[in-house]
Structures are given as structure tokens and as C-alpha cells.
Amino acid sequence: MTVARAFGTSLRQNRGFYGAVVLLCVLYLVYNLLHPRGFSSAVLIQNANESVAIVFLAMAQTIPVLLGGLDLSVGAVMTLAACIASVLVNGSPLQIIFGMVVTLAAGTAFGLCNGLIVVYGRLQPIIATLATGAIAMGLALFIRPKPGGDIDGDLNWALTNSLWDFVDTYALFDPDASWFAPFAWIPVPILIMLVFGVGVWLPFRRTIIGRTIYAIGSAEGAAYMSGLPINRAKIAAFTLAGFFASCGGLYLAIQTASGNADISQAGAYTLNSIAAVVLGGTSLLGGIGGAIGSMIGALILRVMSFYFRILSIDPLLQPLVEGVVLLAAVSLGAFRVLRIKNRLELFR
């Protein structure tokens, strides 16, 4: 009874999020029905692989957006991380782990710098990150002037296939063991998203810093008057964004077994991350939403692009269709305006 009521409350408060979940389920179900090899582990693995980077980037973008800002550097930080990884993630197992840690640490440190600049430089996040994004891009080009690099082959194979392949590659135990069979089909990239995305975000959301981020986006004055740690929360928000962006970059490097400082790709990823955040029910004004919603939003964007492959639609139409769908989805959120009684509040 109380559970039902609590769920009802949650449903009412997170319409955008639940709407996105339903949309994703429908889209993906229909996709699998249309796909000649639908509902197979192979399709799932391929789709998951192509989704990891944008999912992490959308989660990264969510946190500054919850503050009421935007982080235009996420795509560049992802590219920078991928380029670092393409240099370091190879050699002995210890060297590989060291390379991955350095990659994530570099992205996180970059996010920390963003936060420090926004808080102590008193700059608008959008312009501060536009500048730091260009710096990240420059560093990436410096590290990897031409596409290429050397990523450990085993790692590439193990992380971009099913759990069975992961166990098989590293000979952890007998992958054909009967107890393992029910899990063997699970794609590793899905686990990575769950462990690094959900596993970091959900606890973070329940810290004081996490809640302060929501409070700042919702009413910064009230947050200050309540004695919340505003500066620390802002810095933490950008730092975590940097961490998620570098997770995306690391995976992208492992998946493509190379690094590529592609400016237009970085820009497209940044813009798509904003679209995913909005699709996932997070308000660009801040204070409402969450990274799980953005994860769903990113998956919706990706599934839409999968359709173009199986339906043999002219790929040139893809941006047009994506734009229309995004516009339609975002318009649903605009009904709130009709309920405002004091028109002056529209401008606040």
C-alpha cells in the first residue's frame, strides 16, 4: 500500500524520466522485431558497444546541468582521455592498469580544473568550459597528432564482447561451467555502464554534496541560506563530470583500439550529450532530473540511429529525423508554462 503510494508519488515527480524509459523500451523492442537477427546476444553486444561512450558523456553532462549550467568540454575531455589511453593502455597487465588509472585521473583532474575556474574565477560554466574544451582538444592533438595508437588486443576483445569472452580471454575459470551459463551472454559494456555509471552516481546522489547540487540548481539562494557547501558542490559536480567523460574516452579508445583527436567528433558528442540529458527528463534550468535519466536519453538517441541501418533509409535523413524527434520530446516538457499564473515568473 505505502509502496504503491510512494511509487505513485515518484511517478508523478519524474514524468520525464518514466516517459523516457517507456519510449526506450518501445523503440528497442520494435527495433529487435524488425532486425533479422533480433533478440540475439550478438545484436545486444554490438548495440551496447556503440552506446557506452555517449552514455558516459550524457551522465557527465547531467551534473553541471543539474547545477543550472552546461559543460561544453565533455566531448573534448573524452577525446583527450581516449588519446592518453591510446598511448598508455598496453604492455604488461600492471602497465595496462596504470594506463587506465592515469587516463581516468587525467579526465577527473581536468574536471576539477573546470570546477575551480567556475567557482573561483567566477565565470559562467558555458564560457569557461568552451575555453577549457578547446585546451583539452589541443592537448589531445599534441598527444596524438594523427589517429592511431596501440591498445592491448586482449583487453579490446574482453571488454567489447560477452561475459563468456571476458572470462575466456583471461582464463579466470572455466567459462562453460554450468553455474555460469545464465550470465555468460551478458555484454561486458552493459556491466561497465552499470558499475561505473550507476555504481558511482547512485551513492553520489545520496551524499550531502550530491543533494547540494540539486539544491543549487533549484534555488541557489535558499541553498546558501540553509548553510549548504555551495562551492564544494560546484567543484565536485565538474570533477565528477570529468570522471564520467574520461570513462567514456577510455572505453572509446579500448573499443576502437586507437585514439583520434577528431574535433568535429568531440563537438558532436558534446551536443548529443545535451540532447540526451534533456531527453532523459533533466531540466536545463537545473534542479530536476538525474544521470540515470540521461543514460536512458543517450540510449534513445543511439537506438534511433540503429533504425537507419535496418530500415535502409537514406542516412542523409538521419539528422533531420533526430532533430524532429528531439524537438517533439522536449516540447512535452513545455506544458508547465501554461500553469504559471504570474507571467513575470516566466522570465525569472
Binding site: A6, T9, S10, Q13, P203, R206, T207, I208, R211, Y214, A215, G217, S218, A219, G221, A222, A223, Y224, M225, S226, G227, L228, G287, I288, I340, K341, N342, R343, L344
Partner: protein, 508 residues
């Protein structure tokens, strides 16, 4: 009983860009008492409590709690010392749940993470204590009514287990039943040896609850006395007692004027509750009362900003409130509003003086879609000359002007539309005496030209000096309509506190 008071302020002063908000204030407050702080608008009450609560830092002076000298530079430090304030502007975060808000700063934690279950139980217990079982701790604050939000605000303050609780107009938005609950709660807190500072404009409330009263005036602490030692009239005198320092133009002889603007039973969202008023051509009607009794909403409603306004509005035979400011300023209504906050609603600060002056009347200086530079210059020069605005060049940003000249730009902007109804929302706030006098003369001149003027002011002297009639608002309605010699400070202050009737009996 210790020999020092629980809260002690010594020689506290605070100035804001030239105006003094607090001047050498000594003030003290004991545990286990409910202490009322009274004063007119701008008497320094808000500054006082903000200083105590750590929002503002005093320029000079010292503060001690329980004999210990303290200095707060942010609200969280005051909270840590047991000083908790329930502010008038709510400090709730609308997009978080009720439970989140109640435990916002110091939530219960397990393994470093917020313990949702403990937080929920804590919120539920506190809400039960203030008889708000109907508030769902999982609901968003955004979805609550104003009165429920106010109760959540009180719950939030209680959750910090205060030693000194400050209530700034905390009962103003509450329902009658909630007010009773809060009274009981304050009595309980007094039993628990909590010190309460209670700021209210409702005399009956103060009468019923408080043990000690302090009156502030013009940023000074006038007097502190025990309840029952002064009459209502004495208290009103203490609150006023100041010289009238502005020169007003002579008022023309009283005569009846046919109403041009008539409103009847205007209601909106529980902020306006059946306001009825009329303003004639050539008449200046003052709108008085304490802050936030619906004066601002009344003007916004007449100017077409509010949606869902009920009641009748008649502007020169045109029935119904306008649907937008654009409709309000056009013929046949021709209404203009000089808004409360000139920096956000009146001016586009980075834009030039000329652009600001023309903002409401571009169509008058345009040929087709293009602005005619010659006409534009002529209109701007005329406006600057008419109001004697002191500027370097019309192309300078309006932000470079002084407050008084900025306000003149706002007024000039609207006069360029040749309005028939002029709504002025506290136009003399924060400007110098010289400019104030110019504005008074201008108002009289505009009235003489046959325009209807509705003038809200927080300064009673202005209402007395400038207006042909004064309407006093209280709780969303007009409670008194004073004319001619009936416009006195006592009558205005009395009506503002809605003790007009009892005061009149006392005088006679």
C-alpha cells in the same frame, strides 16, 4: 539565572550604500521568552535579524550569545551556534522533497550517505509535532501551497533544535488552524527555555504571544518594555515619531471626480482577496499598508501580468483586465506601470539611455518597420528635458546613472506613451530627497493634466503629502479609504495593522 542576557548586541551599525539600516543598536533577548520586534517598513527589523542570523555582517558593533562573543559570516555558522531563522522569503528548495528540505543541511547519514529511511522518519516526526500529518515527506515542496510551505519551513527550523528561534512574519501566510498550532508550539518552546524573536505586523498576535516588546524606528532601537505596560496607541506613536522631511507640492481643493479606473472584488491566487477601489481623472490615489499585503499584485493585475484574475476592472469604459502589458499600454486603456524593481523590471541596464527611454514607444518613432533616427532623437531629447534627467550622452548605458536618474528614465519611458492611467509602485524607493521632490511635483502636474494616478508607497509621509485619497491594503483587500483631513499617520498606521476600528474608539 546568569547575569548576562542570552543574546546581546552592542553598538551594531549597518549601512547600505549611503542609507543607514541600523544605527548603534543595543539589543538583548533572554531564553524562555517570546520577544516581539516592532517597527514600520524600513525601520531596520529585517537588517537586525539578518545580522543575528549571519546573513549580513555588521559594519561595527559586537554580538554575544550566552556570554560568548560571536561573529557569524554565513548562516551555517549561526545555525551551529543554535541560532535558527525562519525567513520571510522562504529558504526551501522547490525541487527537493519535503523530507530532503527538512534535513537539508545536516541529514542523518550512514556510511557517509544520506539515510533516506531515517530522514523520512525524522521528517514525519517533526511534521507530526506541528500537526502537519497531511504533508507527504516524499512530496516535492514545489507542489505545496504557500501555507504548507511555510509550515515546512517551520519544521525545518525546528529540526535544527534551536536555542534562539527567529520568526520573521512566519505566520503571515498560514491558515487559522496552523496559526493556532504555531502559537502552541511557541508556548512549548518557551517552556523548553528557547529564546524566540518574533516579528509580526499583527498587533493581536503580538499581544497574545509575546512577553517583551521592542520598537525600532529608522534603524534605531527606540525602546523595550514588558507586555501590557503600553497601550496600542503608545506603540503606534513610538513606531511613527519622526519628522516629515520632504516638501510636497500644494494639494488642490477637494472635489469629486468621476472615476476613470474602477476595480471591484479583484481576486487572484489568495494574494488578492476582493480588492475594491476607484481612481478618478486628475486624482492621485495612494496605496498604503505594510509590505506584501497585495499592493504589488494589484498593480500587476491591472497591467495584465497576472493570469486568472477574478473580479471587474473598468478603465475608462473598457471592461476587463488587459491580457498582457502590451495590451495594457495600447489605446483605449493606455495604462503604464513604473515597477517596483527598476533594475530588473524597469530598465535594461546595459542598454543606452535612449533605447531605454524608447523601449515602450518604438512605434511612435518608426516609419514602417524602421526606427526613424531623427524622430528618435527628438523624442529622447524631449523626454530628457521634461524630466530634467542629468546625463552625459543619451548613448551612455543607463547603468551609469544614479538611482534617482535611473528612476526618472523609467518614468520618462512611460510618459512617452502618453498614458491615461499611471501605476507607480514605490517610485521613490532608494532615491535622494531632491529627486523625490521632483517626482512629487511631476505627479501633481500629471494629475492636473487629467491622468489617473495610483501610487503605492511604503513611506507614510509621502502618502499624506502627495495624495488626494489613500487606500490601505491589508491581506489582499482594501481595508480603509481615507480622504482629505482623514489622512493622518495614525490613521494610516492603524489601518495598516488592521486595528483601525479599535484605535478610532480609543481616540474618541
Amino acid at each position: 539565572m546568569p547575569d548576562h542576557p542570552f543574546l546581546q548586541l552592542t553598538g551594531i551599525s549597518k549601512h547600505f550604500s549611503g542609507t543607514r539600516a541600523l544605527e548603534n543598536v543595543d539589543f538583548s533577548c533572554e531564553r524562555g521568552t517570546i520577544h516581539a520586534v516592532l517597527g514600520e517598513n524600513g525601520a531596520g527589523k529585517s537588517t537586525l535579524i539578518k545580522t543575528i542570523a549571519g546573513v549580513l555582517k555588521p559594519d561595527t558593533g559586537s554580538m554575544s550569545i550566552d556570554g560568548q562573543a560571536v561573529e557569524f559570516s554565513r548562516p551555517s555558522e549561526a545555525n551551529a551556534a543554535g541560532v535558527v531563522c525562519i525567513f520571510q522569503e522562504l529558504s526551501l528548495v522547490p525541487d527537493l522533497t519535503v523530507a530532503d528540505n527538512i534535513c537539508l543541511a545536516m541529514p542523518p547519514r550512514r556510511f557517509g550517505m544520506i539515510d533516506r529511511r531515517a530522514q523520512h522518519n525524522f521528517a514525519e516526526a517533526i511534521l507530526a509535532r506541528i500537526k502537519c500529518e497531511d504533508v507527504d515527506p516524499n512530496g516535492l515542496v514545489r507542489d505545496l501551497s504557500l501555507s504548507r510551505r511555510q509550515m515546512v519551513e517551520i519544521a525545518k527550523a525546528l529540526g535544527k533544535s534551536p536555542r534562539l528561534l527567529i520568526l520573521d512574519e512566519a505566520t503571515s501566510a498560514l491558515t487559522r488552524k496552523d496559526v493556532e498550532t504555531v502559537y502552541d508550539l511557541l508556548a512549548d518552546l518557551r517552556q523548553d527555555n528557547v529564546a524566540c524573536l518574533f516579528i509580526s505586523h499583527r498587533m493581536n498576535e503580538v499581544e497574545r504571544l509575546c512577553d517583551t516588546l521592542s520598537v525600532f524606528r529608522n534603524g534605531r532601537h527606540v525602546e523595550t518594555f514588558a507586555k501590557g505596560t503600553r497601550t496600542d496607541r503608545d506603540i503606534v506613536r513610538l513606531m511613527i515619531g519622526r519628522e516629515v522631511d520632504a516638501q510636497f507640492p500644494p494639494r488642490p481643493a477637494e472635489r469629486t471626480r468621476p472615476p476613470h479606473l474602477t476595480i471591484q472584488n479583484l481576486s487572484w491566487q489568495g494574494r488578492l482577496k476582493g480588492a475594491t477601489l476607484s481612481v478618478g481623472k486628475g486624482e492621485i490615489v495612494g496605496l498604503g499598508g505594510l509590505d506584501g499585503q497585495g499592493q504589488k499584485e494589484l498593480m500587476l493585475a491591472l497591467f495584465g501580468v497576472l493570469r486568472g484574475v477574478e473580479g471587474t476592472v473598468d478603465v475608462g469604459g473598457q471592461i476587463g483586465a488587459p491580457r498582457s502589458p502590451a495590451a495594457a499600454k495600447r489605446a483605449p486603456r493606455r495604462i503604464c506601470l513604473v515597477p517596483e524593481d527598476r533594475k530588473t523590471e524597469g530598465l535594461m541596464l546595459p542598454m543606452s539611455i535612449a533605447d531605454n527611454l524608447l523601449a515602450a514607444s518604438y512605434s511612435r518613432v518608426s516609419v514602417g518597420p524602421f526606427i526613424d533616427p531623427a524622430q528618435e532623437r527628438k523624442a529622447v531629447d524631449a523626454a530628457i528635458a521634461k524630466l530634467q534627467i542629468k546625463i552625459g550622452s543619451p548613448q551612455d548605458a543607463v547603468a551609469t546613472l544614479s538611482g534617482g536618474n535611473q528612476q526618472k528614465v523609467v518614468i520618462a519611458k512611460w510618459l512617452m506613451t502618453d498614458p491615461e492611467v499611471i501605476l507607480l509602485n514605490d517610485p521613490t524607493r532608494g532615491i535622494d530627497v531632491g529627486t523625490k521632490q521632483e517626482i512629487y511635483r511631476l505627479m501633481r502636474q500629471l494629475a492636473e493634466e487629467g491622468r489617473a494616478i495610483l501610487f503605492y508607497s511604503t513611506d507614510y509621509a509621502e502618502l499624506i503629502g502627495c495624495c488626494d485619497r489613500v487606500a490601505i491594503m491589508y491581506d489582499g483587500a482594501i481595508v480603509a479609504d481615507l480622504a482629505g483631513s482623514a489622512i493622518t499617520e495614525e490613521a494610516i498606521v492603524g489601518a495598516s495593522l488592521n486595528i483601525g476600528a479599535s484605535l478610532k474608539e480609543a481616540v474618541s
